[in-house]
Symmetry: C2
Subunit: 270 residues, 2 copies
């Protein structure tokens, strides 16, 4: 989960997501609209005993503030939360068997980071017709998937790329919010499969964006284009606009693949 | 506004209530489910500049905790909130021209108070036919409403109760949550027009109620009956029950006028 605005626990339930599967919450920055759902979410998880092993990634002072809120307002509900203290810097902050997560410092009114989630390259895919033809035994399959050649009992070497096809290209997702437009941001993000970049304003209010630490839809599209992202997801709209579709329209002038984001959107990263 | 659970600002907007008219928030106790909507509500009011002159009534440590949350998470939004520090005791904590508000200490797991809101007796109602007949001049009306007799130019005294009818009986509302059943509570509340008394449990789970600082629907009805309340409003249901109507059914066995409470209920105090 990335950030946790007020009412997040209700959204969680409405979309039938499982509290037990929630293992990591990545906070981008410590403004109320990004964290005020957290105390209630944690309280509900604690009360219902549906917690997994939960880590909140945030800055040192966020960890202190949030701990103090939990301790005071949920004082008679037992819970156990870990914090992973991050800083506004470029760094890999989490690495699992299949995924790395790294931070990118952003330009907002308070310290803020974006997150890039990158799958590690997976195994190569077995070509069953070929492994059958060359009589590769089952116990060898794991090594073949990992890229090893197969040596037949008679000494013949069957090169791996005859037995397998390349792994699926690893997918990646970047979450960039809140930030003013940053020229050097695209290079730090790289060619991700999907880029969420905040689009608080339209160009007509561009003069408000930078001083408030926000971006326009056009600026978000420039970052998507320059990063070589496959798709751009809009969001974090100022409530002054009544017609969200304008964000997509403006971004499309710069970048061809724009997904208009809204409450409850489910999108496949591909 | 009494208490402020998570999502209260959304309810506020959904029911088209005006932030500008919000002048007092009365907190009963400092558990998350009663206060986690407050930071977001205050933040939204500050951001939109729609704040009136807002006072939060709470305990000393609540004021400190909430101030610290506002200061940190809304650090670049200017706002101005007053706190009125209350204690878990019987006391009039607010008095206006037309209303008094008093606290009653409750029996919960943390310090908690109930609130009783009492209208002051209003002016007597002018009987226009009689004031016309006795030629009461306009400038006298305020004094006649306040109960004065009218002395005609010829010295004849017209008693006030000929010129007016009695004021409407003052209305009152008591809000009692969260609390275990308290035998001496009814006398402290008195014969209010409407009593909200928490009904977390049904009698079948009575053994859970007291140790957790909560009441059953039957116990709430006993308080309503013993206080001489005109009506009882249920609420604060445990999520274990699927059918809320059972709370009303159980309370009706003890007390005749029960209003089943639910999200969005509007009820007239009479």
């Amino acid at each position: 989960m990335i950030d946790c605005g007020e009412g997040a626990q209700l959204s969680f339930m409405r979309h039938r997501l499982s509290f037990r599967r929630l293992r990591h919450i990545f906070l981008t920055h410590l403004h109320g609209d990004h964290v005020f759902g957290l105390p209630g979410l944690i309280g509900t998880i604690a009360l219902n005993g549906t917690g997994g092993d939960l880590t909140i990634h945030t800055f040192q002072d966020g960890a202190e503030q949030l701990s103090s809120i939990f301790k005071y307002f949920c004082r008679d509900t037992p819970f156990d939360i870990r914090f992973n203290i991050i800083k506004p810097e470029e760094k890999v902050i989490l690495e699992t068997k299949s995924l790395t997560v790294r931070t990118i410092p952003l330009d907002h009114r308070v310290p803020a980071v974006g997150y890039v989630f990158e799958e590690k390259a997976g195994d190569r895919h077995i070509r069953p017709d070929m492994t059958r033809f060359h009589e590769v035994p089952l116990y060898m399959m794991k090594r073949i998937k990992a890229g090893e050649d197969f040596i037949k009992p008679d000494g013949t070497v069957i090169p791996n790329d005859i037995l397998t096809s390349p792994p699926s290209p690893p997918l990646s997702y970047a979450h960039i919010s809140d930030t003013a437009y940053m020229k050097n941001l695209a290079a730090k993000i790289g060619p991700v499969s999907l880029l969420f970049h905040e689009t608080t304003y339209l160009e007509e209010h561009k003069s408000l964006a930078a001083p408030r630490g926000h971006s326009t839809a056009r600026q978000a599209a420039m970052v998507a284009r320059d990063a070589g992202a496959k798709a751009l997801l809009t969001g974090h709209y100022s409530s002054r606009y009544k017609d969200d579709s304008l964000f997509k329209k403006e971004a499309l002038e710069i970048f061809p693949n724009v997904i208009l984001n809204n409450e409850g959107l489910v999108t496949v990263i591909k």
